[in-house]
Symmetry: C2
């Protein structure tokens, strides 16, 4: 699917504030309701626009600890990897997980209530799948946290 300048403007508006009405978005991008509506529909169908969600205040809700977890493994077999990915996807405290190039194999972002909850997560994970080396980096301050792509 081809995305033009108007589509990109619409996406920028939606990223900034998805609660805007079609009229507001249309005005912001210099178009009108129906064409904007059709473009949004097409981009949803194409999977370019995914979930509409809200960003919550993690601290206020008691999620006071955020860890970045660097994982090295000696296992590189297909079966091990399948089980490992399944474990990550199923654990709701894992907000992000990436397989990396190079020395470190995986990085996770884990949000939990406190350090004890992190330890519980860690123990559960290593009992499910064998990992070689784990380093946890504790966040002291969230300087920035956005999902908006720099369109």
């Amino acid at each position: 699917m081809k995305i033009d300048a108007t589509d990109r403007k619409i996406l920028r508006e939606l990223q900034r504030d998805a609660s805007q009405s079609l009229d507001e978005i249309a005005k912001a991008v210099g178009s009108s309701k129906t064409p904007v509506w059709n473009r949004i529909r097409k981009m949803k169908e194409a999977g370019i626009i995914g979930t509409q969600t809200v960003l919550l205040d993690a601290e206020a809700l008691g999620f006071e600890a955020c860890f970045f977890v660097l994982i090295r493994t000696s296992e590189h077999e297909a079966d091990w990897q399948r089980r490992f990915l399944k474990a990550l996807r199923e654990r709701p405290e894992v907000l992000e997980a990436h397989r990396l190039a190079g020395d470190i194999d995986y990085i996770l972002k884990v949000r939990v209530k406190n350090a004890r909850a992190y330890d519980a997560f860690y123990q559960a994970l290593i009992s499910e799948v064998k990992v070689h080396n784990v380093t946890a980096l504790l966040s002291m301050e969230e300087i920035k946290n956005t999902v908006a792509l720099p369109l």
Copy 2:
């Protein structure tokens, strides 16, 4: 502000799909329109519910490279830190930035079109503020990427 079980159910629904109507949310949490509406309004006022946004398909939009950047610095002065944080907040390719406890001082998540764009970002950053040591971890595969807190 105190959050009860019904509030938490509402937040779970909004995280899952913020485009739902009040009626749908009310049904899902076992309540009705008006109370749900009042609870959402209060949580927005209290800042517990923040931006409403959409998650976009980064790959489809040409953002094919994602790096986690580990930064060590020798500078710990207030002025240096202020300039560094400002630089991070202003750069749209920095999606996340955390100050860490321990050996590594900062971690960034940076989304760019390609490796060349990452290098341009890196050169611009180090020309703005002095950093001691930088390690970039390149993501090969996004296994999971959610903003939903495990409520």
